[in-house]
């Protein structure tokens, strides 16, 4: 029973995913699945922010850069022609281990590139190192140093990406090969694989949700929440606050990079706009819109809003819409619109049964201002 209760949201997610697909098929609108799949990958990035910002209380303005590092590393390694290689033992070894694979290039010749799986490993390792380099100095300090460090970092990455010819400069990288995952699954933008890829993205998101839910409910999650609340007190309780903040940041950077890798192999290309600072602001706005700390709120909001954005609902005001969302949320509903909405609904339903629940009436910390008697 308890098991069922804990896992209802996950089951709901799975059912909703299947129903959506079936409804779209029945309506003859299966083409919508393409943007929905992309929105699901973006949701991974926002879930990472949910951990760092909502739970550990650190603001990152550089998650688009980690997405780009993942996507660009994978795209570069799988499209760049490293051949013809000399023939010492290590080169043949790499070929035999299928780390390097031959494929035909645009002009029909053969090219030697890194296999998608090996490229993913390199992309994640690179992200791991870079996230430590950014996070280590910034997170040893209290306050919003991470926001500043990641903002600068994001701008640097986006300039590097635009300015480097090998990365396609302002065109980005196209012709990224599909990624055979194994088990007969392939990450690919081919039309025949559209449904399969939609479910791959759903599965990845579900897996991430399970992982994060368990993490948040564990001793680690409590420690992060304590850091978020009062860092000094958490420290006094024996929690190594710097190490926890860094761990949460690196994990979320890895999630962003993983999303970038999948996204790039799915769409077959990556462009510099994915690395832009406005993208980072958008991710933060989505996390805020979902209530920062709520995994489900964040997932729902980022899938829906990103989907609408990808379908062009916001027209040329796209970035402005997300900026406006951020401002509105911060000023009107800092805990996100979903929680007050839920409370309001429950309040309306219960009005006839109970008087107002006094335990939740006072805002948190309200008693801090208790009168001091001396």
């Amino acid at each position: 029973m308890r098991f069922l209760q804990c896992n209802t949201p996950f089951a709901t997610f799975a059912v909703l995913a299947v129903v959506t697909q079936l409804v779209l098929r029945a309506a003859g609108m299966e083409y919508c699945l393409t943007q929905l799949t992309m929105a699901l990958y973006y949701a991974l990035v926002v879930l990472g922010l949910c951990l760092v910002t909502g739970h550990a209380g650190q603001v990152s303005l550089g998650h688009a850069a980690f997405f780009a590092i993942g996507g660009y590393t994978s795209a570069f390694l799988t499209t760049h022609d490293f051949g013809p290689l000399p023939e010492p033992a290590w080169a043949t070894g790499l070929k035999q281990a299928r780390v390097l694979i031959e494929h035909s290039d645009l002009y029909g010749g053969t090219a030697l590139s890194v296999s998608p799986w090996a490229a993913v490993v390199v992309a994640l390792l690179l992200t791991f190192v870079v996230a430590h380099l950014i996070g280590y100095p910034a997170l040893r300090l209290k306050g919003h140093y991470l926001a500043m460090a990641t903002l600068g970092f994001g701008l640097i990455v986006s300039k590097i990406v635009v300015g480097t010819a090998q990365l396609g400069a302002s065109d980005g990288i196209t012709g990224v090969p599909e990624w055979p995952l194994g088990f007969g699954l392939t990450v690919s933008g081919r039309r025949t694989l559209r449904v399969e890829n939609y479910y791959i993205a759903c599965g990845l998101l579900l897996l991430t949700l399970v992982l994060l839910r368990n993490l948040i409910r564990s001793r680690v999650g409590r420690a992060l929440q304590a850091i978020h609340d009062r860092e000094t007190a958490a420290n006094a309780m024996g929690i190594n606050t710097a190490a926890y903040k860094l761990g949460a940041f690196v994990l979320s950077a890895l999630l962003a990079a993983l999303a970038g890798v999948f996204f790039t192999h799915y769409t077959g290309s990556i462009s510099p706009s994915e690395a832009g600072a406005l993208k980072s602001v958008r991710y933060l706005a989505l996390a805020a819109a979902g209530g920062m700390a709520s995994l489900w709120g964040v997932t729902a909001m980022s899938v829906i809003l990103n989907y609408l954005s990808l379908r062009g609902f916001f027209g040329s005001y796209d970035n402005a819409v997300f900026g406006a969302i951020l401002i509105l949320i911060i000023s009107l509903a800092p805990e996100g619109p979903l929680k007050p909405l839920g409370q309001w609904l429950r309040h309306g339903l219960n009005r006839n049964h109970h008087p107002r629940d006094e335990t939740t009436g006072a805002p948190p910390g309200a008693s801090d201002g208790a009168p001091r008697i001396h």
Binding site: R222, D229, R230, A236, M237, G238, T359, S367, R372
Partner: protein, 239 residues
Amino acid sequence: MLLQVKNLRSAYGALEVVRGVSLHVSRGEIVGLLGANGAGKTSLLRSLVGLLPPRHGEILMDGRSTLGQPPWRSISNATVLVPEGKMIFADLTVRENLLIGGYHNPDRLLQLDIVLDRFPRLRERARQLGGTLSGGEQQLLALGRALMGRPRLLLLDEPSLGLAPLMVLEVFAEIRKLRELGVTVLLVEQNVTATLQIADRAYVMETGEIILEGDAAELLHNPEVKRAYLGSTGREALL
């Protein structure tokens, strides 16, 4: 001797706030540390756990130096600081607050039951958010949270701050009862009378130095204590 501090000096930048303090706390004692605002009491406590790294001097816990360790390590020496202003995690429930206190204690669920038995008020409110408790309940929660780590030495920073007089009595009664658990207490306070009534010994601090020490009963009737508590400017204002 559980805690021995020798000639400790700490500073914020160029401003030295702890100027060569020496003190000791024996096992099972309740020791008061009195003084006016700005005397350096809180800074001294922060130095003891490493939140304000000392510039000079020695801190011996059970004869071993704890100098230079990061603050989150102090708990492994069974020293727990209950910071000023309670520092309750407002967005966590009472139960979660307590579990955080037992972060390094593998038997934290067992200890949780012991602590909740000790503070029935907290058991009643176990599912309530920390921030919704009254000031006095928050202080009890801070105390319970500290006990979750099974400390041998408890450093209490102004537990009476901001509490109604009746609540002060309740909190101090709980502190006195800590003795039964074998917990040693270093109690920083401005409430001189209440402190000297439950303490064995006390030190009086003024501008970063210890100016008086002695048995609590003796200090209770010492005119110097009143002067130090009001501060020298206090006396000048009276003259």
